[in-house]
């Protein structure tokens, strides 16, 4: 990948004795759309605030283009932030809000006017210059906040759950819009969200966090297809997670059956988590698959049906475009490729 722009080295953060971040190492590249993803309290926002300079790490260092900026105050950093609740200045109109950063940098008025106009065009808010902050909808305020940050032409834009307060449809639109802006301007985006779908849709790199540690870092496809542990598998998309025992390389026992798999390198008879995506289990005629069971419930989810199938006291979640009636006996077919074996974690 391209040049490194931000490095976090051994960064830890404590609040009143409790650890919010535990020895984080993270490299962010130029022009990358990197997402910090995790449940609330996982340390993703703290990480972002340390990059922005609003928090200082208890230990560890932050580097920006190779320079240590750990003790640099926010106003001296070449990053800008889009805050969760937009944080627009309520006593200024839209134009003044967007112009704020340029005015402080003592840019001349003509340039300010021209840049603000260009930026409001970019976020589809031309003509809103003189409007007050209160008169704008949530989505519009969000776009002002983005314009206000981007007008300063930062090297890195930090976004803290910027779409969290918007409704689903608007959120999807803004996701596409944000991604387009990022591509067009070639700015590095560091994006914080707890919405896994958002992370998969927009990112070049996803960093899954939990309890102040990085669980996995990779492309959305890698993270989805090759989760490193049951937590990541469960957090990214839905999964069936079952206890199993690795009897030998390429062979695993779960649900009282022996299955062929593609994983190796476990010790003999090691207990493992077996992760299978609901869309990877095929419904077949009873007796034809490796397992058989009975349909417990069927939910229509739009594109697919979500069925719960009880087999040997295990409840399997299955996604299929064809629904079977409740009570129907079915067979379940699982291919070796779709069986993901994970080391038992602290999960």
């Amino acid at each position: 990948m391209s040049q490194e722009i931000i490095n976090l080295r051994n960064v830890s953060k404590e609040y009143d004795g409790s650890e919010a971040l535990k020895n984080i190492n993270l490299t962010i590249h130029k022009n990358e759309f990197l997402t910090l993803l995790g449940p609330s309290g996982c340390g993703k926002t703290t990480t972002l605030r340390i990059i922005g300079g609003f928090e200082s790490p208890t230990s560890g260092d932050v580097f920006f283009e190779g320079q240590n900026i750990t003790s640099l105050p926010p106003y001296k950093r070449k990053v800008n932030t889009v805050f969760q609740k937009y944080a627009l200045f309520p006593h200024m109109n839209i134009e003044e809000n967007v112009a704020f950063g340029l005015k402080i940098k003592k840019v001349d008025n003509a340039t300010i006017k021209q840049k603000v106009k260009k930026m409001l065009d970019l976020v589809n808010l031309s003509g809103f210059e003189k409007r007050s902050v209160d008169s704008l909808s949530g989505g519009q305020q969000q776009r002002v906040a983005i314009a206000r940050a981007l007008v300063n032409e930062p090297d890195v834009l930090l976004l803290d759950e910027p779409l969290g307060a918007l409704d689903l449809k608007l959120r999807k639109e803004m996701q596409i819009e944000l991604k387009n802006i990022q591509r067009r301007l070639g700015i590095t985006f560091v994006y914080v969200t707890h919405d896994q779908e958002e992370a998969l849709t927009m990112s070049d790199t996803v960093v899954v966090m939990r309890d102040g540690t990085i669980q996995q870092m990779g492309t959305p496809v890698d993270i989805y297809n090759e989760p490193v542990n049951a937590f990541v598998a469960d957090f990214i998309g839905e999964s069936n997670i079952i206890d199993g025992i690795m009897t030998k390389d390429y062979q695993v026992v779960f649900a009282n059956q022996t299955f062929e798999c593609v994983d190796k390198g476990f010790s003999e008879n090691e207990p493992v988590d077996v992760v299978i995506r609901p869309e990877d289990i095929k419904l077949v005629e009873p007796g034809e698959g490796m397992l058989s069971g009975q349909v417990q419930s069927v939910l229509f989810k739009g594109v697919h049906y979500e069925m719960i199938i009880l087999s040997n006291n295990i409840r399997w979640m299955i996604h299929s475009t064809i629904a079977e009636p409740v009570g129907q006996q079915v067979g379940l077919k699982i291919l070796p490729n779709d069986i993901h074996i994970m080391k038992k974690g602290e999960a």
Binding site: G53, F100, I104, N152
Partner: protein, 274 residues
């Protein structure tokens, strides 16, 4: 509206204790007793325009203005310190600040008397150190000191309550956009705290311009303010008509100044009296 009768006691209360007294004051201010009975007149107001009384009015406004200014200069930083989110035991400090207000207003002012008088604590200390005694009491400064001391909490509290409500992320956004601490204050914190400043000014200026206790105790009667003048008319001279006229003028001045304030305030917040 349902249960309209609930409002009746309040309406009666307001009529008896607000509307009727106000009407009486206005009534007294425009009548005069002659041999032919009561007659309408504006002579009380005309009398007020005499230089003796104008001096009193201007002095009152001047002293109230200075006191308000001092309260603002002292009170704003105090409110900022109290509102500082890093501050421990904030609640304790705030209540320490309000504590003197639980004590009687007269008592507090008398306390200054014993501190400032010729044989008071400060002068005793000075002579003990072999220094010259100072004339601390019965001048403008003593009156201003009394006002600042008594009314400072009325400046600090409204500013404090506006400051703690300012969204922390707005301050962070300003820092993020390149503003150092001073710029953040000048362009964000201060403009956002203006409603608190405005109500602080109103709440200090109004009692300052009308007080007669502070000026009598600490000014020793030598510095008559308009409050003293009104007091004298009602209690000692017995000229209720002139006293009422003075009160009406004072009320109009206060209303006007509040009107100017809230008009300015409206640009930011909206609402208010006017």
């Amino acid at each position: 509206m349902k249960h309209k009768w609930i409002t009746y006691p309040y309406i009666i209360w307001m009529i008896i204790f607000i509307i009727i007294p106000l009407a009486l004051i206005v009534f007294f201010s425009v009548i005069i007793e002659t041999e032919h009975g009561l007659q309408f007149t504006l002579q009380h107001f005309k009398r007020f325009l005499e230089p003796v009384y104008m001096v009193v009015l201007l002095r009152s406004i001047y002293i109230a203005f200075i006191s308000t200014l001092i309260c603002l200069v002292l009170g704003y930083p105090m409110a900022m310190i109290l509102a500082n989110r890093g501050l421990n035991k904030k609640q304790f400090l705030v209540s320490l600040f309000v504590l003197p207000m639980w004590m009687n207003f007269l008592l507090r002012t008398y306390a200054w008397l014993t501190l400032l008088e010729n044989s008071g604590l400060i002068n005793t200390l000075l002579s003990y150190l072999g220094l010259k005694k100072l004339n601390l009491l019965y001048n403008n400064y003593a009156v201003i000191l009394g006002m600042v001391y008594n009314f400072l909490p009325f400046m600090v509290l409204p500013i404090y309550s506006v400051l703690i409500k300012i969204d922390k992320s707005v301050i962070e956004a300003a820092q993020d956009l390149g503003a150092d601490s001073f710029t953040v204050f000048r362009r964000v914190t201060f403009p956002l705290s203006l409603p608190g400043v405005m109500s602080g000014i109103t709440m200090v200026f109004m009692p300052s311009v009308t007080t007669f206790v502070i000026s009598r105790l600490l000014g020793g009667g030598q510095y008559t303010l308009i409050g003293n003048l009104i007091e004298q008319q009602f209690l000692y001279v017995g000229d209720w008509n002139f006293g009422s006229a003075l009160s009406v003028v004072l009320m109009i001045i206060i209303l006007l100044s509040m009107g100017v304030m809230s008009r300015y305030d409206k640009e930011h917040e909206g609402g208010g009296l006017w």
